[in-house]
């Protein structure tokens, strides 16, 4: 029996490769502090993966590094080791590992962890991003879409709505930067986003609309907070969008063929 190579770990490795430009620029701008934060988050996630391998026989995944990068980049600043570990543990365990590991999760573990940290410790400041890091999201998205590991329709939907928002003057630069990075790291996750083409277009557009809505009417919210909240809601809506897209697809086939 011959086998291809698109296993879960291949996809995780390709995702990591796609995120490399983003990670490189962020580490370059952030220096040792950023590296320390990434190491700490990766360590906590690694420990949980080890625990679930020993107790539940769930093989660990390279996707842990993708999650670690997303959390380390977007988590509120100066949380301290204990709070950060608590948030990461909640996100990774409740968002991913209890469902059976990466590939069977319903929401992105990084989104859950960031939402937990944001709502749990509201006094800490969210990070801001400089232009070079934000621009690095472009090659990341490009590589991911070209390799087929990031859903092209979702990215296109979000970029389309974002472009409309910019044209209408509703999105400032900091919000745009944060939204772009969150789009690449959290929303476009192939597992937790919608899985049908129509669902992906709507999922991306929904994320864009939520970002515009929050940026316009949520006073006092930091750009990353806006983007992460939009990502959480868009991710929760993904199964519903898929269900609607499938119902539409089935109805169209019924009309054309009289059966599915």
């Amino acid at each position: 029996m011959m086998r291809g190579l698109w296993t879960r770990e291949t996809v995780a490795a390709l995702l990591l490769a796609a995120y490399l430009p983003l990670a490189a620029f962020w580490l370059w701008m952030g220096g040792v502090a950023a590296l320390g934060q990434l190491g700490l988050v990766a360590l906590v996630i690694g420990i949980w993966h080890l625990v679930f391998m020993l107790l539940r026989a769930q093989p660990p995944s390279l996707a842990a590094l993708v999650t670690a990068l997303a959390i380390a980049m977007l988590a509120p600043e100066n949380l301290g080791v204990f709070r950060l570990s608590l948030g990461v543990s909640f996100g990774v365990v409740m968002g991913e590992l209890v469902f059976g590991g990466w590939g069977r999760n319903v929401v992105n573990p990084a989104t859950v962890a960031l939402a937990f940290l944001g709502f749990g410790f509201p006094t800490f400041d969210w990070p801001g991003f400089d232009a070079p890091v934000a621009w690095a999201a472009l090659p990341a998205a490009g590589i991911g879409v070209a390799l087929g590991v990031l859903p092209a329709a979702l990215v296109a939907g979000a970029v389309g709505v974002g472009a409309l928002g910019v044209a209408a003057g509703l999105l400032s630069d900091p919000v745009l930067f944060a939204a772009g990075i969150v789009l690449v790291l959290l929303v476009a996750d192939p597992v937790a986003s919608a899985a049908t083409t129509v669902g992906r277009w709507i999922n991306g557009a929904l994320y864009g609309c939520l970002v515009i809505l929050f940026a316009t009417y949520w006073t006092g919210a930091a750009p990353v907070q806006v983007a992460v909240s939009a990502a959480l809601l868009a991710s929760l809506a993904a199964p519903l969008l898929d269900e609607a897209a499938l119902a539409l697809w089935i109805a169209r086939r019924r009309r054309r063929h009289g059966r599915t």
Binding site: M1, M2, R3, G4, L5, W6, T7, R8, E9, V11, M53, L54, A57, Q58, P59, G100, G101, W102, G103, R104, L147, G148, V149, P151, A152, P190, V191, A195, T196, T197, D242, A245, L246, W249, I250, R253, H257, R259, T260
Partner: protein, 421 residues
């Protein structure tokens, strides 16, 4: 979106040496009558061991449908009849004996519709038909809602079916006429590339469908899914175009030609070959002088969906020879227990997965329904049109090692049991 979907599919590359030009006719010294791939068939042997049989004469019939016969692929002496418990056909081996002659049928029988069916069933054409849903050959009196004639094959290393049809246009047209009498629905001729030579066939219920060159665009199940989906009460048949031409010859001369174009390819060969041989041919004889030194495994079928076999399976038209690699060393039991108990791992929805289904159905929800055993969703997404060979590419791409095909078969069997009850 039409321009996006025309290029859908993948072309996985498998190594194979250069092909020697020219096509030779080969009748192997031994041949076997094997059951069609799919559900097992219960048979009653019509011959004894050591009996001499003519090519095309009936050697076994279905136990509960004695009108449907399996016929001898070569003229010869019956060497061995192997049945499994419950009279399940395993194989009937013949030794070649050219003096035994050829069986001739009465083509006048086909003047009525019932006579045509009877002729096809007694001459051994019936097992070349395959029905969907569930696979296997159709029941005796079944009327399909459509018939697909496959003159396209996108599986890696497959022969070009159009090449097998050269000079047989008249017989093909006659075969089409016969097929159109078996159904009230369309008879669709699926071909890829230039469909111009076949335009003359398109008339009335006979239609032409052009398919792309990437796999699985010309996989029969994907074509059925796109053109005329199969349902529990609306079976769809498919048959290879070369077999339709053979049916045309049978109607013209009364003799069913057994030869078919077969391609032998794969990394375990010194040179690839194309030849005309018969179903049930001895694969060891066919590959003896062209196999590369060293251990190898011979598959009947493509590298994606083929199975290790001694004989060429009834509907197969390609033989794949692969080097046999040593099984990898077993991991420590603790590592296996921690990492391998979860099975093949979840399928991540990527572009590769979508393309592995030719972008004709929502791949990720379909795979999830298969894994979860959600019959209803899978049926809504087109499960009943598909068989193992149609998901073979997705199985290969995802590195599932046959698990996806096994899940599909298990689900189809479960639905059939529930439907029959």
């Amino acid at each position: 979106m039409a321009f996006l979907s025309t290029g859908a599919g993948l072309n996985p590359e498998f190594q194979s040496p250069l092909e020697v030009s020219g096509t030779t006719d080969v009748i192997t010294e031994e041949a076997a009558l094997c059951p069609p791939v799919g559900p097992a068939v219960r048979v009653t042997p019509l011959v004894q061991e050591d009996e001499v049989v003519a090519r095309g004469s009936a050697v076994a019939c279905l136990r509960h449908n004695p009108e449907i016969c399996f016929t001898a692929p070569i003229a010869g002496r019956v060497a061995r009849i192997t049945l499994q418990p419950g009279r399940l056909l395993s194989e009937i081996v013949l030794f070649r004996d050219d003096g035994a002659g050829v069986e001739t049928h009465d083509p006048k029988l086909a003047e009525t519709d019932a006579g045509l069916r009877r002729l096809m069933q007694s001459a051994g054409v019936w097992p070349w038909l395959r029905r969907r849903p569930f696979g296997g050959m159709p029941a005796q009196g079944e009327t399909p809602s459509a018939i697909l004639v496959m003159a396209a094959d996108t599986r890696p290393l497959s022969p070009d079916p159009v090449e097998a049809l050269g000079g047989r246009e008249e017989d093909l047209a006659r075969g089409f006429g016969a097929l159109a009498r078996l159904t009230n629905g369309p008879v669709v001729f699926c071909t890829h590339g230039d469909a111009a030579p076949w335009r003359s066939f398109a008339s009335g219920r006979i239609q032409i469908a052009e398919r792309g060159t990437r796999h699985p665009q010309a996989s029969a199940g994907i074509c059925v899914h796109g053109l005329c989906p199969a349902g529990l009460d609306t079976p769809v048949w498919d048959i290879h175009a070369e077999d339709v031409a053979a049916l045309g010859t049978l109607l013209r001369t009364g003799i069913l030609p057994m030869n078919r174009l077969v391609r032998i390819a794969g990394a375990g060969l010194r040179e690839a070959r194309r030849l005309r041989t018969h179903p049930g041919a001895d694969l060891r004889q066919l590959t003896r002088r062209i196999a590369a030194p060293g251990a190898h495994v011979i598959l009947s079928g493509s590298p994606l969906d083929g199975h290790a076999a001694h004989w060429l399976a009834p509907r197969h038209r390609q033989v794949t020879v692969l080097p046999r690699y040593e099984a990898p060393r077993r991991q420590h039991w603790l590592v296996s227990a921690l990492t391998e108990t979860a099975g093949a791992g979840p399928a991540i929805p990527t572009a590769a997965l979508t393309q592995a289904f030719g972008a004709v159905l929502p791949a990720a929800p379909f795979i999830r329904a298969l894994e979860a055993g959600d019959d209803e969703t899978a049926m809504n997404l087109g499960l009943l049109s598909l068989l193992e060979e149609d998901v073979a590419l997705a199985d290969y791409v995802l590195c599932h090692g046959g698990q996806l095909m096994a899940q599909l078969r298990a689900m189809l069997d479960r639905i059939r049991r529930e439907y029959a009850a």
